[in-house]
């Protein structure tokens, strides 16, 4: 069984294996297909129309499936690799080893916020952005410059205490666990981490920054943490509901998996420590 680990605990060899698999996926063109898929849903998921990947109950199962597909693509290159998670309640500064030159590289510098260090600096020749919202073809970041702070442990605990998974109208205005986690309302865990990293992570093409996967892996871990705290609660809506994915509806673009199929992550992987 694959174990997803806290990125802060990875050995140098594990970091290298992860980075090399990501770079190889990029070289093959597969990486950019993931960026495109994410952005396609970002553009079409709205509060009043069909919504699947974002601002919707299926935010969590959709990203769980998205991450699983990415992780399997990495494992086809190196079977030892699993997705690490970034616990931003503990690794909270630009000085974290996460942003080291041997891992994700550092903050953006100069005009344009260019990431100039590490394996994902465009100057290294392995990380040129093709699916992008503007003319910059290099990775950008503005760590901590977006006016948002990273969520704290208290913030996470408060969100995990919300008993109801989601509520009508099942969009960015909903109360409930999912939307407080996603961040369109209330405490906001997910959205503000995108803003804290800034640069590409602020955009619809956020998977251009490999930290996307580690952030969403943490979000996925928090979903599991919520499930363990609320055994009597479950995914909503259960019954067919206009414009949103109900428990047993298949999710686009894959059409081969439902939220119900994804509720138990231990069928696929475990976390080194439960939240």
């Amino acid at each position: 069984m694959a174990v997803r680990k806290n990125q802060a605990t990875l050995t140098a060899a594990e970091k290298r294996a992860f980075v090399n698999a990501v770079l190889e996926l990029k070289r093959r063109g597969t990486y950019d297909a993931f960026v495109s898929t994410h952005n396609d849903f970002i553009m079409s998921d709205t509060d009043t129309t069909e919504r699947t990947g974002h601002r919707a109950p299926s935010f969590l199962p959709w990203h769980r499936s998205f991450l699983l597909r990415f992780e399997r693509a990495l494992q086809a290159i190196d079977a030892t690799v699993t997705l690490p998670y970034w616990d931003w309640t503990t690794d909270r500064t630009p000085n974290s080893s996460l942003w080291g030159p041997d891992f994700l590289g550092g903050d953006g510098t100069g005009t344009g916020g260019r990431v100039a260090t590490g394996p994902f600096a465009q100057s290294g020749g392995n990380w040129t952005l093709t699916v992008r919202p503007d003319t910059r073809n290099y990775l950008t970041r503005e760590l901590g410059q977006g006016g948002e702070s990273l969520p704290t442990r208290a913030d996470v605990d408060a969100v995990l205490a919300i008993a109801t998974y989601d509520a009508a109208p099942f969009n960015s205005s909903s109360s409930g666990f999912r939307n407080n986690l996603e961040g369109w309302t209330g405490i906001n865990l997910h959205n503000r981490v995108h803003v804290w990293v800034g640069g590409n992570m602020s955009t619809g093409m956020s998977p251009n920054d490999p930290v996307f996967w580690m952030h969403h892996c943490m979000i996925d871990r928090l979903w599991a943490g919520w499930q363990s705290r609320h055994p009597g609660q479950g995914y909503q809506p259960v019954r067919r509901t206009r414009n949103v994915v109900a428990l047993n509806d298949t999710m686009k673009p894959w059409n081969d998996v439902t939220p119900a199929d994804l509720l138990d992550h231990t069928k696929f992987y475990t976390y080194d420590s439960a939240y």
């Binding site: 919202p133 977006g146 109208p169 960015s172 961040g183 955009t203």
Partner: protein, 131 residues
């Protein structure tokens, strides 16, 4: 930073002189119209304060206008241009706005959204929207 010192409001009178008519070109980008309008503001632009804007912010021309009809802007009912290029944007259920550049952060008005995008772009141009 005081925005008032870095922006220049372009007046309604200038707008009515027709300099801000947007034209969707075949490539799917939107540029300032020189060849005649195919897309026009939905209602008399600027009839209510804040409906439309046209200003220079940090040396970038930003424009916003209510829209109807076909295209990317049909959903949101509004279009923002930065140096003539359309910014993909979306309205939230609570009336706030997001854009493809600042997707995870909400803004109270299209003008605030446009200014935030200018800040994030840091001199870069928007990529053309897919048709």
């Amino acid at each position: 930073m005081s925005e008032s010192t870095t922006t220049t409001e372009i007046t309604r009178r200038r707008m009515l002189q027709g300099t801000v008519v947007a034209t969707a070109v075949a490539a799917g980008t939107v540029v300032l119209g020189l060849t005649g309008p195919t897309v026009t503001p939905a209602s008399g632009a600027d009839t209510e304060s804040g409906d439309s804007f046209d200003e220079v912010f940090r040396n970038r021309r930003i424009q916003g206008m209510p829209m109807s009809g076909e295209g990317h802007h049909a959903m949101s009912g509004y279009m923002v241009l930065i140096d003539g290029r359309e910014l993909h944007m979306m309205r939230n259920a609570d009336g706030t706005w997001i854009s493809v550049i600042n997707h995870y952060q909400t803004f109270a008005t299209p003008r605030a959204l446009a200014r935030a995008a200018v800040n994030s772009l840091d001199g870069a141009d928007l990529a053309p929207l897919a048709a």
